[in-house]
């Protein structure tokens, strides 16, 4: 059995899905981030001045890019996998000799690709407003890749456990969005009172935003190595959980 063909089939199907509906998947982040840059970066940012030696516009660009990567890698997997559950075409995969790790890696790859593609779109738009020079390409790429992987895995778990379309919007609306906004996208944690600084350290998105910010403009509130360890730890844990859910057939088999 050639598993690579099955893997490529899943990935191609996933890419085709979000390309086919590009007005829903690629266009909205372009519009919403343009508004972020205009309102927060240009209008309000001009009055804020410098943060940690960077202009406010340059400071928020990495956070907005990584926020788009987070929401779109998550959204791609959760909506695609839940739709296949809802339409029952997940059965096409379950009856075929496709191992669980191929199913997982296929869907996660789709989420990573969409997340990174949206990240590139947002980064290109940011060039209209900012002229930053990339500080460390490797750190920026590794952080974006790890972030997209982590949130694709989280989306996978959400889709597996979801029993209705309502269930796939709860986490993005009530968990991801607040954590993103409180993850230092628009401000430095140094600006917060000590108690809020301590609480912010429990927000994993803070680490990713800061690591990516370091990669792009060389400014960070957090140790980069710690970010890689935390993100890597979450990824390993979520991969194990996904494989367990698939093995047990929870949410997808009777």
């Amino acid at each position: 059995m050639n598993y690579s063909i099955a893997f490529k089939t899943i990935v191609k199907k996933e890419i085709y899905r979000f390309i086919r509906i590009w007005p829903q998947t690629l266009l909205p982040p372009a519009i919403s981030t343009t508004l972020y840059f205009l309102i927060f970066g240009k209008l309000i940012g001009d009055r804020i001045g410098m943060i940690n030696g960077a202009s406010y516009m340059d400071y928020i660009v990495p956070g907005i890019i990584i926020m788009s990567v987070i929401s779109h890698s998550y959204a791609n997997v959760v909506s695609s996998l839940y739709s296949t559950k809802f339409q029952r075409n997940i059965e096409e995969l379950l009856v075929a000799p496709v191992p669980n790790w191929i199913i997982l890696s296929g869907y996660i790859s789709g989420g990573i690709i969409r997340g990174l593609l949206v990240g590139i779109v947002v980064a290109l738009i940011s060039l209209l407003f900012s002229d930053f020079a990339v500080h460390n390409v490797t750190i920026a790429l590794v952080t974006a890749l790890l972030t997209a992987t982590l949130f694709s895995l989280a989306g996978f778990i959400n889709a597996i456990l979801a029993e209705s379309f309502d269930d796939i919007s709860i986490i993005p609306n009530f968990v991801l969005t607040p954590l993103s906004y409180l993850g230092g996208v628009f401000y430095s944690v140094d600006m917060l009172p000590p108690i809020w600084q301590t609480l912010s350290m429990g927000n994993p998105i803070l680490y990713m935003v800061n690591a990516f910010r370091y990669g792009l403009i060389g400014v960070s509130d957090i140790d980069i190595q710690l970010t890689v360890i935390i993100t890597g730890g979450f990824i390993v844990t979520l991969v194990a959980l996904c494989l367990y859910l698939l093995h047990k057939g929870i949410g997808i088999k009777n």
């Binding site: 059995m1 050639n2 598993y3 063909i5 099955a6 490529k8 089939t9 899943i10 199907k13 086919r20 739709s83 296949t84 339409q87 029952r88 075409n89 059965e91 096409e92 995969l93 379950l94 009856v95 075929a96 000799p97 496709v98 191992p99 057939g249 088999k253 009777n254």
Partner: protein, 303 residues
Amino acid sequence: MKALSLCNLRKTYSKGFEALKGIDLTVEEGDFFALLGPNGAGKSTAIGIISSLVTASSGSVSVFGYDLNTERDLAKSCIGLVPQEVNFNQFDTAKSIVLNQAGYYGLPRKLALQRTEHCLKQMDLWDKRDTISRRLSGGMKRRVMIARAMVHAPRLLILDEPTAGVDIEIRRSMWKMMQEVNQQGTTIILTTHYLEEAESLCRNIAIIDEGRIVEHSDMASLLARLHIDHFILDLADPLTAAPIIDGCQIELVSDKVLNVAIPKEIGLNHLFNQLTAQNIQVMSLKNKTNRLEQLFMDLVTAK
């Protein structure tokens, strides 16, 4: 060789419902096998376990000698499943549905394209290959599912009520197709509520009821067990009372229609001779019920 072997297969769902109570079943290679049972009898659970959509509580499944637990890939590669309900992405084209399934089974691209074309042509869907599947008719959607199930050339094809809700013309063409596929060497397991379908297509049969196999034999010997045939007779002239003939049960349904139950050992010649002797002229005759339907009802109500 055994195409399928189920051994003491049990399934208890999480809420405690015992869908299968230890069933044993074998299907020989090349067979056209009917798995029948009333709604909720356990047919779909059994098929779900065989096709890996349902996890068995205990027991074993082997497909062409491959154990579904220990030689999962080999066992799964032998099976093609046509489910009861449409379960493909309704926004995909017929061609991409079949082609993707070939990919899941690991068929290289060139072979996958060839097999997709072959299966879609066999199902008379090639002209519709680029049509978004939700725009296809109900019969076409069912044929897409059959093409999808056959794209990896399975040795065992499981059809779970494939003709439910399709018109007579399509049903007949699907029967022809199933017979051709079987003649080419593919073992077929068919579940259906149309018992005349099972009677005319299948050589062997199992009847499942309340999670147990209540009958497992060849079709001919099962039908031979039916002792009484039921007929409806249309008469030329009206009657006021049902005629009396020894050995037969006759009921006057309306003034020109008789309902006759006749034991096989008596035979129709005796019936007609007696009717003629009583000056009753029969214009036409038809079976009251399908023979298998009669047996099915006897088996599942005999508790």
